[in-house]
């Protein structure tokens, strides 16, 4: 599934034009991006939480060359699925996978 499929869904569901649907999807993800850049986390109930974490500088190694180097401090985004989403995914997995093993 890609952004184009999301546009399609929104087009079907509320009758916005595809162009409008596309714009609003871009705005949603852009806005989330901006929020992360400000260091803020986003919680979507029933879906999950995106957290922004600050990583300290640390010593690392280039796995290709074996060279020692410093990994610069950086911000990373982590995602945790909500319990509801986790439970639904697991339930479906059990349903679709029994009989296989």
């Amino acid at each position: 599934m890609t952004k184009a499929d999301l546009v399609e869904r929104i087009f079907e569901k509320i009758g916005l034009s595809k162009k409008e649907a596309q714009e609003i999807i871009e705005i949603i993800f852009d806005f989330m991006k901006q929020t992360f850049q400000e260091g803020e986390s986003i919680k979507i109930s029933g879906f999950g939480t995106f957290n922004v974490r600050q990583k300290m500088s640390r010593r690392g190694r280039n796995p290709k060359t074996g060279e020692d180097l410093e990994i610069t401090p950086r911000k990373v985004i982590t995602f945790r699925a909500s319990n509801q989403l986790k439970a639904t995914m697991e339930k479906e997995y059990v349903q679709t996978d029994t009989g296989e093993s």
Binding site: L6, K13, I14, I24, M32, K43, K75, V76, I77, T96
Partner: protein, 93 residues
Amino acid sequence: MTKSVLIEKVTERIGSLTRKQTEIVVETVFESIKEALIRGEKIEIRGFGNFKPKQRRARRARNPKTGEKVDVPAKRVLHFKVGKALREAMNPK
């Protein structure tokens, strides 16, 4: 930030939609992603990131507290990988 704040801010920015309409759009976005994940599909939001269901095999693990063996059933977990554009935007050079 929560979903309702996101809906409000997006409504302000768009201007041409009511709060209710934006709410339906935002709900549809996350519901659609969720449904695709349940079907076992990968979701690719260019510039933002990918959501990918991954299968974990059943395994025998140990309760670290008691040392007891426990069976962990097979399950599907969700992996999110941040997109390149977003990762770079988070850490401007």
